[in-house]
Amino acid sequence: MTSEAQSTELNDTEILELTEKIKEEESRGSPLIGVLEEMPALLKEYENGNEIYKNKINNLITEGYNHFRRIRGDGNCFYRAITYAFIELVSKDSQAATSAKERLENVGIPLLSELGFDSDIMLDFYQPLLSILDNVKDPSISIGDYLKVTLNDDEEVSNSIVVFMRYLTSATIRKNADDFIPFLFAYEGDLQLDDEGMPDIKKFCETYVEAFGKEADHLQMTALGRVLDLGLKVCYLDASERPTVDWHTLNENSKTITLLYRPGHVDLVYK
């Protein structure tokens, strides 16, 4: 970098985009969905670092959270994490897998058409997910191996489902605009307002939800959990001076998955 470039001041958006680009480049080569790891591997990341993180992780272990799974940090981590954990959860009994598929067919996919997304185009994005939900009912397959082959090894399948999940999130936010608009005002990014001073929800969704590689925030998480009929427990691990992690529950539900959230990144954590 030349000294001239260094002295150029970047605005917040440019810094955000630069950070996203660097993260995306660094993450290439790491698995989309990592293997199940034991918690000490997470502790190791902070070996020479911050005591606060170490204490929080140790407290998580005491609470019985013994495993975690890394997700590639390419800006799509939330969508890949929820997809993986969702399928893993409903794979435990075939009735749950059937209901999950039926809900997508009866609620999610019609919502996309209702919001005007071309169904021929959408078909390619959701078909892989529907067939995975069918295949996990086969008692002779190993779910772990099967999900590795589909959601990790096959980038086209994994990315198609990310795109579908993004559109499903967008459609849910747009359909329930009244519920979500208040949260848009707090959104940290630049937000375009319409003539009446209300946030432009379509523009917001195109920029922060539908665009591949854009990170998800609480808003997107809540919306996707809602349309999938899935509860999300978010374990918030950051450098704030508290002895334990913060927990946030988005959508109370009997079916719930647990996300490990560190600012700017989502992984999965297991009890």
């Binding site: 071309d118 021929d120 078909l123 990315n159 630049d190 665009a211």
Partner: protein
């Protein structure tokens, strides 16, 4: 070769249900990523009667990343490059991913999204060509943009001439 279900399905759909205003097919039947496009100049526009040939080149990552569209027909338009190294390349916002700052973040124009298809791209292109006084912000062809602003009659004349020529060339 890399497969791409999304492109294969669109090709099949467009063959079964052609869309008015353009035709689309592969340059070479064994390569799904290079398409040849023929656009019929929109009625009541400067391009009425024109037959415009173009190429759409898709990256392997399509639909996550947009294709590049290049006109093979000689054209004079602020959004189409005329320099020898990028001649014919179309520069419009929907063919740029979000975060690509050529226009700056604040710009409200629509960016690339995975939901865009060959059809929706061409609908945008046809609508672009239908305007007699195209947008001249951040032009790809600076001289054409200048002419739109300073000599609109001359601009229209040049466009009409190239439109007629495109139809003649097509029958040669």
């Amino acid at each position: 070769m890399t497969s791409n279900t999304h492109l294969a399905r669109q090709l099949q759909q467009l063959k079964k249900h052609p869309v008015d205003g353009f035709s689309a097919g592969l340059v070479d039947e064994s390569n799904l990523f290079e398409w040849e496009i023929i656009i019929i100049g929109p009625v009541d526009s400067l391009y009425e009667g024109a037959i415009l040939k173009a190429k759409l080149s898709f990256p392997e990552e399509y639909p996550l990343l947009p294709p590049k569209m290049t006109f093979l027909t000689d054209l004079w338009h602020p959004s189409i490059y005329n320099s020898p190294d990028r001649k014919g390349e179309l520069c419009i916002s929907i063919l740029h991913p979000p975060g690509d700052d050529e226009w700056g973040w604040e710009d409200a124009s629509e960016r690339w999204l995975p939901v865009h298809s060959v059809e929706s791209i061409l609908v945008s292109v046809i609508s672009l060509l239908s305007s007699d006084s195209p947008c001249t912000d951040s032009p790809a062809n600076v001289d054409a943009a200048k002419q739109v602003r300073e000599d609109p009659a001359g601009y229209k004349k040049t466009v009409r001439r190239l439109a007629r020529k495109s139809a003649e060339d097509c029958w040669d």
